[in-house]
């Protein structure tokens, strides 16, 4: 369902060109769980952003669910993102003045979903991620693990086909990290694909498919 071929991403920094991605060839099937590891600066986040339609490659072709999305304009990309992609970030990225419930609701609000329908989905998400008691708390009143659960619930609110998580446990202690991983994997069991960027080999090893990146290129692709 995701097919990348010949993807290049070049950043210009002053006179210099930084090749963040070089000649990426990658296919991800529906429902796949894959981890992406590699040294700092190897292009993991950049690849995730390209897959998540947040960033455009300089060259190459990206097919999503059989449709070429390489040439979409900003608004088409926005709509494709909210229909198909769910993001989970290292720094949670919750809106500080909104409550947990309002944060979870945000993608549905942006998509213009009816308030009635929103309430139903919100109730399901709050109970699925064990956040009912925290629904009306603001992010600064929540623990790191709870914040990340809110972020995951938010990523799931539009029923995406791909969840993209960039070091979701990077800001959490080991125990909470395990908890969050369990939640993410449950999402994957629900049928969506999960792409996980991590520095933690133990966490990376839990995925069925493990990619390794060095210097903007995919150098390893293990399964099983």
């Amino acid at each position: 369902m995701i097919r990348l071929s010949g993807i290049e991403r070049v950043f210009r920094v002053g006179e210099e060109e930084v090749h963040a991605l070089r000649g990426i060839e990658l296919e991800i099937a529906r429902g796949e769980y894959l981890s992406l590891m590699g040294p700092s600066g190897s292009g993991k986040s950049t690849l995730l952003n390209v897959i998540g339609l947040l960033d455009r490659p300089n060259a190459g072709r990206y097919e999503l669910d059989g449709r070429d999305v390489t040439g979409l304009d900003d608004d088409e990309l926005s709509r494709a993102r909210r229909e198909k992609m769910g993001f989970v970030f290292q720094f949670f990225h919750l809106v500080a003045r909104l409550t947990a419930a309002q944060n979870i609701e945000l993608p549905m609000v942006l998509a213009g979903i009816e308030p009635g329908e929103r309430k139903q989905r919100l109730a399901r998400l709050l109970s699925a991620y064990g956040l009912e008691a925290r629904a009306h708390h603001r992010p600064d009143q929540l623990s790191g693990g709870q914040c990340q659960r809110v972020a995951i619930a938010r990523a799931m609110s539009m029923g995406p086909s791909v969840i993209l998580a960039d070091e979701p446990t990077g800001n959490l202690d080991r125990h909470t990290g395990q908890e969050v991983m369990a939640v993410l994997e449950r999402v994957h069991h629900g049928g969506g694909s999960l792409v996980l960027v991590t520095h933690d080999p133990e966490i990376g090893a839990r995925a069925q498919r493990r990619l390794r990146m060095v210097d903007g290129a995919i150098v390893g692709d293990e399964r099983g």
Binding site: S78, F87, P107, A111, M158
Partner: protein
């Protein structure tokens, strides 16, 4: 994104950034309040002048002999020659018009007024009993000229207060005789001090019956005919009736000029209205300043909130969504500021009204509508740049730690 949600989101932002919201509300409020207060002072001045004129008898129509080329000139400023005189018969014929309540023919001259050995040169007015009501004159003592046929006269007169004290030197003038030229008149009334009327100081005049003045100055010609219409609405009818009747009597020639005080008043009204508009416009400049403040604050806000904006885009917000959010926020702030400003302006107006109770301060309707609309307009206009900057933010860079 639904409109209600956009509104709700903007409301959250407005509530979330208290200091910023207060600052903008204050700037907008001051602008709107300034427009309302300043324009209500102008409007108050206008109404004051109009009312003052009204109390002088706005239903007044003045008929002058001769055709004036400058219609609407003040009475007394007359350009053009007199081909044929206005007569008492002309004046009496005007009574046919149903739009006319009363009229007073007027002859003016200068007379040597003497009592015993004292004498004094004063303006002498010849008129009828109705002059008193038309000019809203009041008596200090005695009566005005007696009513009756203006073609015949009794030897009586009414004098101004200063004339009475100077000629009679402390004695009561009422009932005494005085001499104007070679004729004797008995003083039947003394005018209350009124100030200027018809260009004369009423303290310094002597009023005699019309026929007596005609004999005194040896003329049939009237200086003016003062006409009072039945109501403000009837002024125009009275004016055309007068022209019609006099044209008939003068063999179809238009030989008179008819001036309404309304025309003079209308000029004042226009000038003061323009003035109010001008000062209101000046005050509106403070709204533009408030607009620039909004733009700055919004630009800062885009920088501060770049993480949030980037996040919204990552979560599927389109550029249009983001722009609309910023406009909604600006409109909410402007609306709040406008309401605040209207309230403060109203309070200011009441306060000034307490200081000058005789002037009717009221904000003109156009200021009450235009000030908030200008506030909202400037707010939207000046948030275009910040909104566009926000909508163009690259989500990856906005979200990165860098």
């Amino acid at each position: 994104m639904r409109l209600a949600d956009t509104l709700g989101f903007a409301w959250q932002v407005v509530r979330g950034y208290r200091a910023r919201t207060l600052l903008i509300l204050l700037a907008m409020g001051i602008g709107v309040a300034a427009v309302v207060a300043v324009s209500s002072i102008g409007e108050g001045a206008r109404l004051y002048v109009v009312n003052q004129f009204g109390s002088l008898g706005t239903h007044l129509v003045v008929v002058l002999p001769g055709r004036s080329e400058t219609a609407g000139a003040m009475p007394g400023v007359l350009i053009g020659k007199t081909p044929r005189d206005l007569t008492i018969e002309d004046a009496l014929a005007l009574k046919r018009s149903p739009a006319i309540r009363r009229l007073a023919p007027l002859i003016v001259g200068a007379g040597d007024v003497r009592v015993g050995a004292r004498n004094r040169e004063t303006p002498v007015l010849g008129s009828t009993s109705e002059l008193m009501d038309i000019r809203h004159m009041a008596m200090a003592q005695g009566q005005f000229l007696p009513p009756g046929d203006p073609r015949h006269s009794q030897p009586v007169c009414v004098v101004g207060a200063k004339v009475a004290t100077e000629l009679f030197a402390g004695r009561s003038a009422l009932g005494e005789w005085l001499r104007v030229g070679d004729r004797r008149f008995r003083v039947v009334g003394i005018l209350a001090t009124q100030g200027e009327s018809l260009g004369f100081n009423t303290d310094e005049i002597v009023i005699v019956p019309l026929a007596a003045a005609q004999a005194l100055f040896n003329t049939e010609a009237l200086f003016r005919i003062l006409v009072e219409a039945k109501s403000r609405e009837q002024i125009a009818i009275a004016q055309s009736d007068i022209e019609e009747i006099l044209r008939e009597r003068h063999e179809g020639k238009r030989e008179v000029t008819v001036i309404t005080q309304d025309a003079v008043l209308a000029t004042f009204d226009r000038i003061l209205r323009a003035l109010t508009l001008a000062v209101g416009g000046l005050a509106a400049i403070s709204l533009a300043v408030a607009g620039i403040l909004i733009m700055n604050v919004m630009l800062i806000s885009v920088t501060q909130r770049r993480h949030e904006i980037g996040l919204l885009k990552a979560l599927g917000a389109t550029g249009a969504n983001i722009r609309l959010m910023f406009f909604t926020e600006a409109v909410l702030l402007a609306l709040g500021g406008a309401l605040l400003g209207l309230a403060v302006g109203k309070l200011g107006q009441l306060f000034i009204g307490q200081l000058f109770p005789s002037i009717p301060f009221t904000a003109p309707w156009w200021a009450v509508i235009a000030a908030p609309l200008t506030a909202i307009g400037t707010a939207v206009l000046f948030s275009v740049a910040p909104a566009r900057r926000a909508a163009r933010l690259d989500p990856v860079r906005a979200l990165s730690k860098r």
